[in-house]
């Protein structure tokens, strides 16, 4: 990723062209030029700051001193805090549900045939529900949109 500066007009380019015609002559193997040589033709490296794409985004590219970079700006979050919480809790329910599904057949078998479900399965399912309640309460207690968006749900892997 580089930026092409043509008379002050900055264009971000995914890659440098293999060949490029400049002032009536084609530079063959243009993409093999060194960074310094490319700079002579207006192609510069970009210093991309780290950012959290869940809540932030990059501004238009700019020249800051002699460094081409972006500002990190807050994303506009159109959903309400309540909507974000509902969405996050729905995701949690989906995760928990997909884990419980793995042993649903054990519980159904017990109801159907009376064969007692193994205690570790019962315990695991109970633990999942406890975690679901705990995490759900944490999400409901969050007070900002950013906090909800950056709340990472745990990874479950019930065997």
């Amino acid at each position: 990723m580089k930026v092409l500066n043509e008379n002050g007009v900055l264009t971000v380019v995914g890659s440098v062209p293999k060949n490029k015609t400049i002032n009536g002559s084609t530079v063959v193997g243009f993409n093999r030029l060194s960074d310094e040589e490319l700079e002579a033709y207006g192609y510069f490296n970009i210093n991309t700051p780290t950012y959290d794409s869940r809540i932030e985004e990059l501004s238009a590219i700019k020249l800051d001193g002699d460094v081409y970079t972006y500002d990190v700006i807050d994303r506009v979050i159109v959903q309400t805090l309540a909507e974000l919480k509902t969405q996050k809790i729905d995701n949690l329910k989906h995760l928990i549900g997909s884990q419980l599904e793995k042993t649903d057949w054990v519980v159904i078998r017990q109801m159907d045939s009376g064969e007692v479900a193994p205690q570790e399965v019962i315990d695991s399912r109970a633990e999942l529900r406890t975690q679901s309640n705990t995490i759900g309460a944490e999400i409901k207690a969050l007070t900002t949109k950013k906090a909800v968006l950056t709340y990472d749900l745990p990874t479950f892997n019930l065997q």
Binding site: T21, G24, S25, T26, V27, V28, G29, R32, L33, E37
Partner: protein, 114 residues
């Protein structure tokens, strides 16, 4: 009366053979520098390294010359406009150059199919 100029009536049809052509039409030479003198050879060879600017001298409209370029890196031919192809490193690149004028050239690059 002495004959001072050869006219076309003197040359028989089909009388100019390859061996009668000048060196600029029949010879190949390795470039000593970066100048392709179209009046000297028909084909040129060179090994590219780094970023090299080649130039062409003594060109006239529609002259066609071959340039076999091996090596690495990048290059440009002053006044040369690439029509097709790309420079592949470390193989023989067959570059055929046509003079559009004495200072503007079109060229293509191709390689042997392996």
């Amino acid at each position: 009366m002495a004959l001072t100029k050869i006219t076309s009536s003197v040359l028989g049809n089909d009388s100019v053979s390859y061996t009668k052509l000048g060196a600029e039409f029949t010879t190949q030479a390795a470039l000593a520098g970066t100048v392709l003198d179209f009046s000297l050879n028909s084909a040129f060879t060179a090994t590219n390294s780094g970023v090299v600017t080649y130039s062409i001298t003594n060109a006239n409209v529609s002259m066609v010359k071959d340039f076999y370029l091996n090596g690495t890196g990048s290059f440009l031919i002053t006044g040369g406009l690439l029509i097709s192809g790309e420079f592949v490193e470390s193989v023989d690149n067959f570059i055929q150059i046509v003079a559009k004028s004495s200072s503007v050239f079109h060229y293509s690059i191709s390689q042997e199919i392996i």
